[in-house]
Amino acid sequence: MGPLAGARGVIVLVAEGLRKRFGANEAVAGVSLAVEPGEMLALIGPNGAGKSTCFNMLGGQLRPDAGEVRLADRVVTGLAPRHLAHLGVGRTFQITASFASMTVRENVQTALLAQKRQAWRFWQAADAQHVGLAEGLLARVGMASQAERPAGVLAYGDLKRLELAMALAGDPVLLLMDEPTAGMAPAERAALMALVRGIARERGVAVLFTEHDMDVVFGQADRVLVLDRGRLIAQGTPEAVRADPRVRAVYLGTAA
């Protein structure tokens, strides 16, 4: 378990006044948010609203022009992704990224070795390390039967599950999932997000995700943040956000 997991009510992640400008375009213009342990927080908004930029600033891929990101009470603004990983931030990507030259189990073992800072060992056989832990994680995401398959040949939905297992290898306090269900069939989407939700609850992991599919958002999120043109225009429970006229205006184009 990470340092904060389980301590309900403590804030896992806080972002304050994040800004990012690309040339003349202010992609994110002052976004603040906070995530609690075990919470499923969805970040939504139309194309170009600044979701990915926001996400990449939280995940360390982009450095914000202004603002601060804190993990527990530690300022982590602009830290590289690999440092965030060691501080308990798990990450999945919109375009799946796994290690194609390894088996599914080896992918998770590599993630475990990396997270336990054991990558700089030159002698023991890597595929004998953390076998039990790796198989446990794979079982949790429903991939136990595919452990020995090469990761390069997996079906898309299974790759997403593998990525989830790898993100969990570091016992994260926070999962950042960028479009976790993109490219999946509707039934698969609901199953994957139900799985994520179950894991978030049992481990006290906070999950921040972006999503296009409104059924997934309103079915699985505890709280929803709505971005438009780089600003937060609404936040609250799914019901409240669904009813919010500003959100309806952004999505449906009707006057507020």
């Binding site: 990983a85 390894m102 997270q115």
Partner: protein, 614 residues
Amino acid sequence: MDLIFLQLLTGLAGASTLFLVAAGLTVIFGVTRVVNFSHGSLYMLGAFIAWSLLSRLPREPEYFVLGVLGAAVATAAIGAVLEVVLLRRIYRAPELLQLLATFGVVLVVQDVALWIWGAVDLSLSRPRWLRGAVEIAGLRFPFYDLVLIVVGPAVLGGLLLLFHRTRWGLLVRAATQDRDMVAALGVDQRVLFTSVFALGAGLAGLGGALALPQGSANLNMDLSVIAEAFVVVVVGGMGSLGGAFLAALLIGVLQAFGIALVPKITLVLVFLVMAAVLVVRPHGLLGKPQAMARGEVEALAPIRQAGPALQLLGAVALVLAILAPFVAGPYLLSVLTEAAVAVLFAASLHVMMGPGGMASFGHAAWFGVGAYAAAFAAKGLGAEMAVGLLLAPFAAGGLALLVGAFVVRMSGVYLAMLTLAFAQIAWAVAFQWVEVTGGDNGVLGVWPDSWAADKPTMYWLALLLCVGGALVLRRALFAPFGFALRATRDSALRAEAIGLDAHRLRLAAFVLAGAGAGLSGAVFAYAKGSVFPTYMAIPHSVDALVMVLLGGVQTMAGPVVGAVTFTVLQSWLLMGDFWRIKLGLLIIALVLAFPTGIAGAAAAAWDRWRGRAA
């Protein structure tokens, strides 16, 4: 003051020919995405053909122009033939194999040129008008330098007009942006590619022809110019004509002043400038980040531990190797010693090339550093062999740490070119620093201690150190380090997200590869009793590449199979005259026949056979 001015002029003149070669290289790369190693050979052919024409034509200026243009056109025609016969077949092959195939062409052309023009340097007896000088502001400038200085910008202007004012140029620029889109628009790509290649070849030929009056046509000019052209193209930015021009000016002037002021370290100076430019602008002066190269989306075959059958085969081979001295004669034993050295040389390259995903075209540099370190220990310190064998991997690994800190930031062909440029510099240092290295004469008398002086003992020692070293490297590749390294290659994004430091892992692989090659170099030095600059030369780097690619990059047994096969081939088939043409044709044939290497092809065949049997 006058000297500075004259030197500047010399630099600008040199920059012009350099630009012509680099422009051809960069235009060809832009459209076909092939890094044409044989571009230097086309330059050399341009010079030889120009010599043949100009030494027969009358000596008036108009015939000189005619001869130079004739050489350029002839080279362009040779380029077109080369494209149709060879390159067209390998556009879809992995980048590295393309480079290797074009190196095969380098070898073939060398022997063809040797056969036609002989081994003697051919210089032109220059007519008086060419030797003249022009007086400007009280200073006398060599007339021909001024001609060259004008040619560079003129050709740049002509090319820019061609690319921006003609329909053909429009297509070339479009293809540089997005090949598939141009194909989808119904343009006949084959004609476009052939004509672009011919243009690039013609530019190289023109460069060679224009360089002739100031030097000579000789068999060394291909590899020396290609290293410089790589530097220019990388500094300027791959695919950028303007960048190539700026970089050629920079490098040309730098070389001219370097030779005048600090002749010994000119090449080091060039490398440092290149390093500085790339630190500030990783894609070169005017280069843009490359659109995703095909290599990055290539499916990566899973790497498996050898099964019991293969392990047994390996063990049997090892036992046979250990017993060999009881049956083998002295010649066979020396071939086997070389094979053992080659195994570690190839295995060390494989560490960075396979799991590390970093192809090196200058691996011989580390081999040579190790060999010279051993020579230094033996002759300079008068130390026992053990000292030399210990010093070598640390010397090579230490230098690899310095160079690697900079090189591993790059990827793909940039990285390959940088390693080549560095190796060329290491070679030049060994060649020029006569007081320490003995220059071309090498260091002789690097003999093993008396206990290892007989052939069988030296062979066993080589086997122990080199095969043992290769097994240690293999062990590291299946250890957490190897998995982490492979992770950074498979997906840098994911590797960082799980907490891996990709830069340090790649650097460690680079250092490990350097240290392994250094040890193999030291063993070789003691086995042969001598060390020469050729240990570091480009052909030796290519030997390592051929071994790894011959065996297959994506299999762990590959480098071993490749090293042994290559050494045996070299010892029996490739001896005597015209070995280059045989080796070159062999490389080309192998690239065409086995794009995944011998071990790769064998593994695939084995899987098919098992699939049928099951």
